[in-house]
Structures are given as C-alpha cells and as structure tokens.
C-alpha cells in the first residue's frame, strides 16, 4: 500500500475524525447506538448535508453563499403554502427545488453580471429573503404538510436523498466537464476564462445548484418538523460553512471535494448528538464546533505548508 499517496487525500482528516468519534461513541455511550438515536442522527445529517452539498460547490469556486438558510425557509414556506392551498404534493417538490434554483440564479447573476462580491450579494439576499418570508407568512407556520412529503422527510429517507445527491455531485465533479471547470474556476478564474470557458455561466450554474439544494433541504426540513415557518434553518449558514471547511474544502477555492464536505456535515451532526447525549446544554455546542473549525483550519494550514504554497 502506498502511504505517501494516502497522505495527500484531502478527506482523510475528516474521515479519521468521524470514524474515531463514531467508534468512541458506539463503545462508550450505549444510548448512541440505539436504533432510534441513530435514525435521528441520520435524519439530521441528511437535512444538513443537502445544504452542505450545494454550499461546497460554491466554496470550491472560491465564492460563498450566506443565503442558504433563508432560501430553505422561503422554499419550505412557499411549497407548504401552495400544498395547503390544494396543489398536489407531486408539484410541491419541484416547486421548492425550482424556487431555490431561481434564488440561486439571481445570486449568480448579481455576482457575475453586476460584479458584486459574493459575500455582499448573499448577505443582502439573506436579509431580503428572511424579511420577505416573514412578511408573506405573517410569521405563522404551515402545519398541514401532505403525508407523502412527510414520509420522505422522516427517518433515514433524508439521509438516503443526501447520499444520492452526494454521489451524483461527486460523479459530476470527477467525471464531467462541468465538474472540472468548477474546480478550475476556483483555482484561477482568469486562466480558465482565457482558455475559452464561459466562467460566468459556470458560476451562475453553481449558485443555481446551491439554491436548488437549499430549496429541497428546506422542503424536507419543514416536513420533518411538520412546521414550515419563516425562521426555519435560522443561523444554519454558519453550520453549513463550518461543515464544508471541516471537510477539507479550501475556503479560497480550487481544492476540495463533495465527499469531504459531506463528511464534514456528518461530523457536525454526530458531535451535536454526542453533546446532547452527554447532557450538555445545547448552547455549549458552540465551544466544540468552534474548536473543530480551528482544528480543521490548522490541518488545512499544515497541508498547505507541506505543499509549499507561499503565503505572506
């Protein structure tokens, strides 16, 4: 076995951390390995993971999307309100995904055509969408979500959806032309543009995909709690970005993988669950998550200095 090659696998620290913590929990904490608890972990990991998949695409291009949580809330409320008004549930799913994609596309247009910085554009989008959703729903949750939607949001089904999406995007990134272009845009946009690729179209597509993932995640989140509401996924953007970074995606773009980011989402959810089972108050999650982000960032630094990338 070639160990030196193994050392350069970016996902390795995340995978190691996940395996060690899962093994530890399985042996040390009997309440972790119950079917009910594992089912909950899978459900939460699936819901967070859908957001993480989309965000990781954006971060691989060197951008950032702060509006994923707000997009999820908007799409959840939009789909739930239409279904409550009598639209069939089979339309609800594409509606949420298309609405999310549309939001992402607007982000992409503002970033590529108006040349606004991604952080600023998506911050404005975050404020705008939260406000619109709160005003449109009068902050009242929708509780009549059709049974079939609730069924696909229950138990391990979100996790299955998340695995399928991760697999699909991973294949796209490694086997398809567009995947290579996404990574290349993150590494050096100008050189990709000069080699004849429409980088702006690539960026718009990436933000569109991120929004669509958020739309689907929002629909399932609302259905999982049987309450589609305007403050759904409030503050999730930070969890999502943390997961992507923990998964070994470089924040300045150009390096990282969907699988790494998916592992990051699992780590965050498993850590949360562990703290919960150990009886720590929910507010203290922050200390642990903060520490994990730092460890991940230092791992990235170590990797970078090994690769001898010069930084001032």
């Amino acid at each position: 076995m070639n160990f030196s090659k193994l050392k350069s696998v970016r996902e390795l620290p995340a995978l190691g951390l996940l395996l060690v913590s899962c093994l530890w929990l399985i042996f040390a904490l009997p309440s972790f390995r119950t079917a009910v608890n594992l089912g909950q972990v899978a459900q939460q990991a699936g819901l967070l993971g859908l957001l993480v998949c989309g965000e990781s695409l954006v971060i691989i291009t060197g951008g950032i999307d702060l509006s994923v949580g707000a997009t999820a809330a908007l799409c959840s409320c939009l789909a739930a309100s239409r279904m409550q008004a009598g639209w069939p549930w089979l339309i609800g799913i594409p509606l949420a995904i298309v609405a999310g994609g549309a939001v992402g596309y607007v982000n992409g247009v503002l970033i590529t055509v108006r040349k606004l910085p991604p952080i600023l554009t998506t911050l404005a989008m975050l404020l705008f969408l939260r406000a619109v959703t709160n005003i449109a729903t009068a902050s009242v949750p929708y509780n009549h979500i059709p049974e079939p939607i609730k069924a696909i949001a229950a138990g391990i089904w979100p996790f299955v959806t998340f695995l399928l999406l991760t697999a699909g995007l991973a294949v796209m990134m490694s086997q398809m032309k567009i995947g290579r272009r996404i990574v290349a845009v993150g590494a050096s946009e100008s050189s990709v543009r000069l080699s004849g690729v429409n980088t702006q179209a690539v960026l718009r597509l990436v933000y569109l995909l991120c929004g669509a993932c958020a739309g689907l995640a929002g629909l399932l989140m609302g259905a999982a709690s049987n309450s589609a509401q305007a403050n759904l996924a409030d503050g999730y953007e930070l969890d999502v970005i943390s997961a992507v970074v923990i998964g070994g995606v470089r924040l300045s773009g150009g390096e990282g993988s969907i699988i790494g980011a998916a592992l990051g989402a699992l780590i965050i959810v498993v850590m949360r669950n562990a703290l919960f089972l150990y009886g720590l108050p929910t507010e203290q999650y922050g200390l642990v998550i903060g520490a994990i982000i730092l460890i991940a960032a230092f791992a990235e630094q170590a990797r970078r200095s090994r690769d001898r990338v010069a930084t001032v």
């Binding site: 600023l120 404020l127 507010e283 922050g286 982000i293 960032a297 630094q301 930084t311």
Partner: protein
C-alpha cells in the same frame, strides 16, 4: 488613488466615496420627513442616535477590519460574552465599576487578540477564525451565565445608560467619540496608514517594512475592544445582562460599513461613510417603527439599500474613470 489623481487634472470634480450612501440617505430622510411631518424634531433624532449606539461602536472597529480586507463576524458574540462578564463581576462578585469595566474591556480585547493571532500568525482566513470565535464566545456567554440573565446591575451603570448631556443621550456621545477616535486613527496615524496599505497590497506593504502581522492583530484587538464597549452600553441600556444579547449586531455593523462605501476587498475605507451608513440604518429603523410595520421590513429595506449604495458607488467609479 490613481483615478483621483487623474480626475484632479480634468474639469470634472471627483465625487467622494461617500456619494452613494449620501444619495440614498438623503432620499430616505426626505421621504421620512414628508411622510411624517410630526417626526421632524429633535426628539426623533435623539431616539435614532440612542438606538444606534451599540451598532455604531461595533461598526467603528469593523471599518478598520474591513479596511484590511478582513471581516469579523464574532463581534456580536463577543459583546454577548462581555455583557455577561460585566454582569457577573458587578452583581455576583460585588466588584466596583472601576475594576469591572476595565476587566470587561480586557476580555473583549483578549477575544480580539485571539482572532488576530489566528489570522495574522497562523494564517487562518478571517471568516473562519472569527466564525470559530462567533460560536465559542456565544457558548462562553451561556456557560458563564447558565443561560440566565443577570439583573440588579449597579445604579451608576443604568443611570449612564439613560443619562444625557446637552440634550444628547450619553451613549450617543460615547458612540460618537469612538467613531471619531477610530476615524482619526484610520486617517491620520501611522497605524491607520499601515491598515490601508495592508488592505491594498499585502505583499507590497510587507516588502516596504510595514509590520503586517502586528498591524493585523491589533486591528482585531480594536474590534474586540469596540465589541466590549458596545456590551457595556447594551447592558447599561437594558439594565440586564442577557447571554444572547448582541445577536445580528455583526450583520448590521457590516451592512453599515459597506453601505457607507468601504469596499469589502480592503485598501480603502471611510469612517464618515460608516457614520452615514449608520444613520441610514437608524432612519430605516425609525421609519419602519413609524409606519407601524414589523421589524422584518427593516431587513427588507436594508437589503435594498445595501445593493442601491453599491450601485451608486459603481456609477461614481465609472464616472471617475471616464473623466
């Protein structure tokens, strides 16, 4: 720099960086004054200024951070932590304000120093380092307080929160003083020039002998210090220390700075723009209240104002380049 020099030679005068926010603010003020004639008085101004006190103090530090091309998303959490520390020290440890206040400021600065060290020495991206602090400081506030709010603060502190001098609330004086001090620091001191050169071109300023590590660390210390001062104001005004105080302060402060015309890529900054950006937020807040609308409308309008100010700024730059 080069564009303004070129414009100086032409007939057209260069428009200042604050043009965007000035135009947007004037339109908003005019609309507000026409729609609500009864609000055209000093009392309204005083309310707006008081409500802006915490955000203003945080935005002063944030302007320095953004001038280096960085960002500090942890200020709201640091303010929450410092508020709890102040409450703990004065109420539970029975310390006098003369000891408790400096200790609170030291805690805030220490959080900022950790941010700065992670960023300048260990080369973490600012958003990641401050994101970790965002989580950790908020958790720290909950751990220290067990999730409870602390009331029964000393009278001298709460009196400060409600006092006024020359018809202007004391907290507004304090906020103004912080803004002016940071503005002078940014524009006229060696430290300020180092900040701008660091934000403009890191490598060039390193090669020309600017101690970039030291400058960058110090910028985040200032940001943490400002968060601590804001925490004192917030605690004094609320008369209680609450662990989730200061949520979304970072969003508002970043919005004020960016609306004011300081570009997020760094290298240029205007404290006057930040002040105008702050007043814009204040006018929008007050307008939403006067219309009797939900606070959500404030976020909606701010999102539009944010994009509008950036568009006006782009128009200004294009005009300057054309000249």
């Amino acid at each position: 720099m080069s564009s303004s020099a070129a414009v100086g030679q032409s007939k057209r005068r260069a428009m200042p960086a604050e043009t965007g926010v000035f135009v947007v603010l004037s339109v908003l003020c005019l609309a507000f004054a026409i729609r609500f004639p009864e609000a055209r008085n000093g009392a309204t101004v005083s309310v707006i200024l008081t409500n802006l006190a915490e955000i203003s103090i945080i935005a002063a530090g944030m302007t320095l951070v953004i001038a280096t091309g960085g960002i500090d998303v942890s200020v709201g959490s640091i303010a929450g932590l410092c508020g709890i520390v102040l409450g703990k020290l004065t109420v539970e440890k029975h310390m006098g304000l003369l000891i408790a206040l400096p200790l609170t400021l030291v805690i805030g600065s220490a959080c900022g120093w950790v941010n700065g060290t992670l960023i300048s020495r260990y080369k973490l991206p600012p958003i990641i380092a401050t994101l970790a602090m965002f989580s950790a400081a908020r958790a720290g506030a909950y751990v220290l307080s067990n999730g409870n709010s602390i009331s029964g603060l000393p009278d001298s502190l709460t009196n400060f929160g409600y006092g006024s001098a020359l018809g202007v609330p004391t907290v507004a004086w304090l906020a103004g003083a912080v803004l002016v001090t940071m503005g002078i620091l940014l524009k006229y001191s060696k430290f300020g020039r180092s900040i701008l050169s660091l934000g403009g071109n890191r490598e060039a300023s390193f090669l020309s002998g600017v101690p970039i590590g030291k400058v960058e660390t110090r910028v985040y210390v200032f940001s943490g210090l400002c968060a601590a001062i804001a925490a004192v104001v917030m605690t004094a005004r609320g008369a209680t220390a609450v662990p989730d105080a200061g949520k979304y302060l970072e969003l508002r402060a970043i919005t004020a700075v960016v609306v004011g015309g300081t570009p997020v890529i760094g290298g240029r900054a205007t404290m006057i723009g930040t002040m105008l950006g702050l007043v814009t937020i204040g006018v929008v807040q007050q307008g939403v209240v006067s219309f009797g609308k939900d606070v959500m409308w404030e976020m909606l309008v701010m999102a539009v104002v944010l994009l509008a100010a950036v568009e006006v700024d782009r128009w200004r730059l294009r005009r300057a380049l054309a000249a």
